[in-house]
């Protein structure tokens, strides 16, 4: 198990390095001098940046300096916001995104498991067909459309009750987060529902379920003790990609619902070509996602005795 842990963490670090490298060279391929674009770069920032990133140095030296900064967790200073470091920006906006993401993940995972279990129980009957159609629908409608429709929906609900039942946009309280998190988690929920369904169907036909029933284990206990745990295992393995989906899906939802998260900030930075913010955020997100994947792998190892004990 320790071996497994060490291997996973080391693999994760190498992957982060790869992401940082890819980011660096991708940004270096940007035509022209990033400091010479039409965005206003004050002389102080310019001097600061040149010193920091040694932009006059050969590319490999720059790369080494860049890696050094990244390793220390220093992502530089924003181009567009005077004297604001990328670290500050991440520190301020990431918790918002994280809170939204966690809520969305909770919605997605619980919804996915419940709906998946339901469809599997009613396999090939009406509830199954209905839920599965909704699932495919949820997968097929772009998140920004869902977000916009949800916003319209809140508007009409508020108008109907003639009161602010839920805020249309903004951030601050739990009620601000509910609908955006639901929208954000919807695609993942649909994906997990599908997976949970097929996984449960596989498990339901497994011989050990027959054994359990032959032993006289009641249907409820068969479901809880024997089916669910085995069916959830493969679902755990895809939580990594699910976190990635929710993270990037957050861009749109934050944009539409005017939530001051890192995603919205990133999109703004992209639109303003704020290079340091783009690079810093990309590496940060990359590292975050890799950490999540490693964490989930380890979690999976803990849940599955076949991995834990080998």
């Amino acid at each position: 198990m320790i071996r497994y842990l060490v291997r996973r963490v080391l693999g994760g670090l190498v992957t982060v390095w790869f992401i940082a490298t890819a980011t660096f060279f991708a940004m270096h391929a940007v035509p022209g001098d990033p400091l010479l674009n039409d965005k206003a770069v004050t002389p102080e920032i310019r001097a600061n940046l040149e010193a920091r990133y040694g932009l006059d140095q050969p590319i490999l030296t720059q790369y080494a300096i860049f890696l050094g900064h990244m390793a220390r967790g220093d992502f530089g200073i924003s181009f567009t916001q005077k004297n604001r470091s990328v670290n500050d920006i991440i520190r301020e906006h990431f918790p918002v995104s994280a809170a939204l993401g966690v809520l969305a993940l909770v919605f997605a995972a619980s919804g996915g498991i419940v709906w998946g279990a339901l469809t599997a129980q009613y396999r090939n009957r009406l509830p199954d067909a209905v839920i599965m159609f909704l699932v495919i629908l949820a997968i097929s409608v772009p998140s920004f459309v869902v977000a916009a429709l949800a916003q319209l929906g809140i508007l009409y609900v508020n108008r109907w009750f003639d009161a602010s039942v839920l805020p249309v946009a903004g951030w601050g309280q739990l009620r601000h987060a509910l609908v955006p998190a639901l929208v954000l988690g919807l695609g993942t929920m649909a994906f997990l529902t599908r997976l949970m369904r097929s996984s449960l169907l596989d498990v339901m036909d497994a011989d050990y379920i027959k054994t359990a029933r032959a032993k006289g284990v009641g249907p409820f206990r068969v479901f809880w003790r024997h089916q669910l745990r085995n069916a959830v295992l493969p679902v755990v393995t895809v939580l990594g990609p699910a976190v990635a989906g929710i993270t990037t899906g957050g861009f749109v939802v934050e944009l539409v619902f005017a939530i001051p998260g890192l995603g919205r900030y990133f999109v703004q930075a992209v639109q303003q070509l704020d290079y340091t913010v783009i690079m810093g955020t990309t590496v940060f997100y990359g590292a975050f996602l890799v950490a999540m994947v490693v964490l989930i792998d380890i979690l999976y190892g803990l849940v599955d005795p076949r991995i834990r004990l080998q």
Partner: protein
Amino acid sequence: MNEATTPMFPELPSSAFAPLSLPESEPLRQQPAASYWSDVWRKLRTNRRAFCSLLIILMLLVFTLIGPLLWPLDPAQPNLDLISRGPTLGGQAQVVDLSRPWVVPQVTSWPVSPVSNAQTLAAPVAIALVEPATTQAVRIQWDPVVGAAGYVVYRNDHQPESNQDLGLPLRTLFGGNQVGHEDRLRLRPGTYWYSVVATNGVDESPVYTTLAVDVHPGVRLRDLPQLGRAGQAGDFVELPAHPLGTDYLGRDLLARLMHGARVSLFIGLTAPLLFVALGALYGGVSGYIGGRTDRVLMAVVDFVIALPFLLFMILFKIAFGIGPGESGILPLLVALVLLSWPGAARLVRGQVLQVREAGYVQAAKLLGGSTLYLVFRHLLPSTFGVLLVALTFAVPSAIFTEAFLSFIGMGVVPPTPSWGSMCNDGMKTMMSHPHELIFPAAMISVTVLAFNLFGDGLRDALDTQLGEPGK
């Protein structure tokens, strides 16, 4: 013991016990002699959802390829008269010459002696249209009211019930001799109720006069060439239909959807084809060679998969840069291919590893089949099914990616329309003109839904096909 018993032997003629000749050969288990793919096709055809999806996909292709020929409106032609209009089917419009400015009718001879108490002011009389009312302009005038120092003109979309219900105040005219108004404010075909109230300069009279005006479509004389029409002021001309309405620049939504479909479907079909082919080649080679080479090649795949997809799409888009006048489609395509091939590579590698050990491949090897023969005769055809499924599922995700990037302004560059950028535009006017969002969003959703359902059906058909009989 009460098992099934035979109390008496059934009475039978002795001829019943004559020997029966055995059939010469055994029958086959299944009747239809269908090839692999024709069998898959048969299964697919009987899957109603998948078949409908296939029809929808074909219709979409027709829409994209043939649509613009049948619907020749220019998707880039703005029309500031028709900003954010809902769906219309065109119809007649009267040509209006608005080149001469409208002069408010003035009554020079009217004696001006303002009344101090607005309560005593009468309602205007003889309120009337000056010219036929069109969506370009409604011109009304009325007879002056004795003692009025000015007038307020209101417009409402229903018959006012009281002087509190007069609607939108359009204009306040100061000077009792100005007795007319030209309304050019966002007129739509339909009926408007114009109310005129006299004022003493401070307060309004409690009484009013209302005129119901039927507004008909109108078109400006100078816009006629643009629409490909000719005529004089007062003529009626046929207007172009906008069955899906217009956008915030007055461009025809249907034409934009058709041209946007070209972009979205081009990216949605080309990118998956490219990256699935690339991935298949890579994974196939890796799986077939195996060993150390395989491990190294697959490590690369792992790295590329670990890249946060959308972030790197954006990064690559920025890195490739977009010159002036370019649409940004090519960088999008390249970025998509660069980041998406590993999925197919893994899939094909797995399949190759599995099939490589199958008896029929080993048998072919023993029969003297060269590597090329094995790959092309046995391995590739066996991966074809999963590749096809991967392809159908890659199409919606590519369409999604394009839409997402265009939505955040990182995709196709305006004015080239794509469904994603149209959604982005539509978002801005979502609250007042939802059709601008709904139509492109529906196109994306229907397309993605069709591909998803088709992919599901295809996978089912292939799965049951691969399942062996009797098991």
